[in-house]
Symmetry: C2
Subunit: 341 residues, 2 copies
């Protein structure tokens, strides 16, 4: 594939911390692919060393080939000024990528303009139309596949996955982040939102992701979804576990969390030791996978409490544990590299 | 709900054993709801004591309120003579139910005719449009919920479910078969094909089924799908396990089967003992479920081998085992009733 050079469309990204999370994710984890950021309010400034421009025309000086929607707009909609931005991008010959619910293909006039200019509009959340059931091709991928799993959803699996991938790339490994949810997809510019796939094709979608990942590198970090015992999302979790055929798991947990979130029943979270055992026994019989290490999200506790929690997790499971955001991903990466496959 | 009285549309059902499987399932498990069968080739005869008629008009003598498509047509299509049959049914004021892939709503002229006559066209395979994520309402259902699970897909889970429900109804219990796949839905006339649901709503669909089941009776037999370790369908299995919130499982297995079917990787099937343990540990934490008994499909072995296999399964698991088709469902039903919840 040709190398992505992003002009991130981040109009008014500074007005709210959540609003610009896609842009921030891309800047943190795909910095090398970003050539410019568009925000009329901050034109002339720079963000993490990336020039901020006021118009698409001005952004073209930095030779982008793709405009990326870098914000989370209200309700996923594109107000009028956004539609103008997207049209300017297409007129300049840029492909456009969008991870929001509302599709680029539904913006009046945009698909026609894109056809005329010969550029692609990529609605990243929309599952491919030609998905099917898994075939076993996942077992043929020539790469080490590592899947993040967790004690709950919304616990930092995507962040842990990105941190491990970034650390591996910084060490010169052919490492690939394999995104399975909308934010990850917007960050990486590819992937499948597996929870939007028809249940029958869940493992098939995960399989396709690792097959594509195998063409991109040889150490794949698959973003996990949900949790094996989550009352609402466990189906997605297990379909992804089997379809992505991991060699290893990284088990993610948030220190202090005792019941599932975003779940009206607030189901108790079981022990790390039980989760390690369950994930290993629920592995594909033809690809038994081990938990390589424990990734803790300690953002809600003090640094001292974090260090104690890490020690406790190591004592409980006999595995390396760390918080890759707070203390760096090196220790967990080494645990994975030493674990196999 | 008003009581269903079916005129089963089974034109040429006798020409091939597979062709009439919906009709046969309905006759075996919903005999009390069938008033007549339509087949021009056998008009005047009877099938399992049900009169066979040659036209819809003639069938009206038996006072049906619903016409049910009772066959599996080539590719799920409706050839011209079938379209005439369906139109005659609607003209006579019958609702129409169809479990095939091709929708009644796509037959030219039929929806208009149905509107005119004030009857319903029910395409049973189409998931409801208003599904959402699970809410916890599954834990509030005032009924004993029993889910069939299995060592593989296509192993007889639907049949075991129907046999147990039939036996329970024969004993006067307010028992309900809760269908989750197309054949079961066509047999029961309601249900959701859970594998056709978007992954995010899998548990939500299963929850809706047991909530509806709870309005129909107080002993619910939920048709399981796939298998917890099936490389392709495990996501559906686990979503259904958590969304249907069973109190008990019936674990189904086919004697002699050692690897998964319909799966190009032919994955080894683990022991019954391991499956019992895994299902119990994978239960909802707020609804721990036990395996009540083992349902064996012994159709591929002799009667003597079947009896030996049943003894072996009992010795291995410490649970009652039987083949409900070959030897009757009484023993398994008693195991379920004695097990709790």
């Amino acid at each position: 594939m040709s190398e992505k050079k992003y002009l991130i469309l981040a109009e008014e990204f500074s007005h709210d911390p959540h609003y610009g999370k896609t842009m921030r994710g891309v800047l943190r984890y795909r910095r090398e692919s970003v050539v410019a950021i568009l925000d009329t309010k901050r034109a002339g400034a720079s963000e993490d060393g990336v020039p901020v421009v006021g118009t698409v025309d001005e952004g073209m000086r930095y030779e982008p080939n793709t405009a990326l929607v870098g914000v989370v707009t209200q309700g996923g909609h594109f107000p009028g000024d956004w539609q103008d931005l997207l049209k300017s991008s297409v007129r300049q010959g840029l492909d456009v990528e969008n991870g929001l619910h509302v599709r680029l293909h539904d913006i009046p006039g945009l698909p026609e303009l894109a056809r005329e200019r010969g550029v692609e509009l990529r609605d990243l959340r929309e599952p491919p139309g030609d998905l099917s059931t898994a075939t076993g091709a996942n077992l043929e991928v020539d790469a080490t596949i590592v899947l993040t799993v967790g004690s709950d959803c919304a616990i930092g699996k995507m962040t842990a996955t990105c941190e491990l991938d970034l650390e591996a790339r910084n060490r010169g490994l052919r490492s690939v982040f394999v995104p399975t949810g909308q934010t990850g997809i917007a960050i990486a510019g590819w992937g499948i939102s597996v929870d939007a796939v028809v249940s029958d094709f869940l493992a098939g979608a995960a399989e396709r992701l690792v097959v594509e990942g195998g063409e991109r590198g040889d150490l794949l970090w698959v973003e996990g979804q949900g949790a094996i015992l989550h009352p609402i999302y466990s189906g997605v979790t297990v379909g992804l576990m089997h379809g992505s055929a991991p060699n290893l798991y990284v088990l993610c947990h948030e220190v202090g969390r005792t019941v599932t979130e975003g779940d009206p029943t607030a189901s108790p979270i079981v022990s790390l030791k039980e989760l390690v055992d369950l994930h290993e026994r629920m592995s594909l019989k033809l690809r038994p996978a081990k938990v390589a290490c424990i990734s803790l999200n300690t953002s809600e506790v003090s640094e001292e409490e974090a260090r104690i929690a890490i020690e406790e997790a190591e004592a409980e499971t006999g595995l390396a544990a760390d918080d890759p955001v707070r203390f760096g991903a090196g220790k967990l990466l080494e645990a994975v590299l030493n674990a196999g496959p």
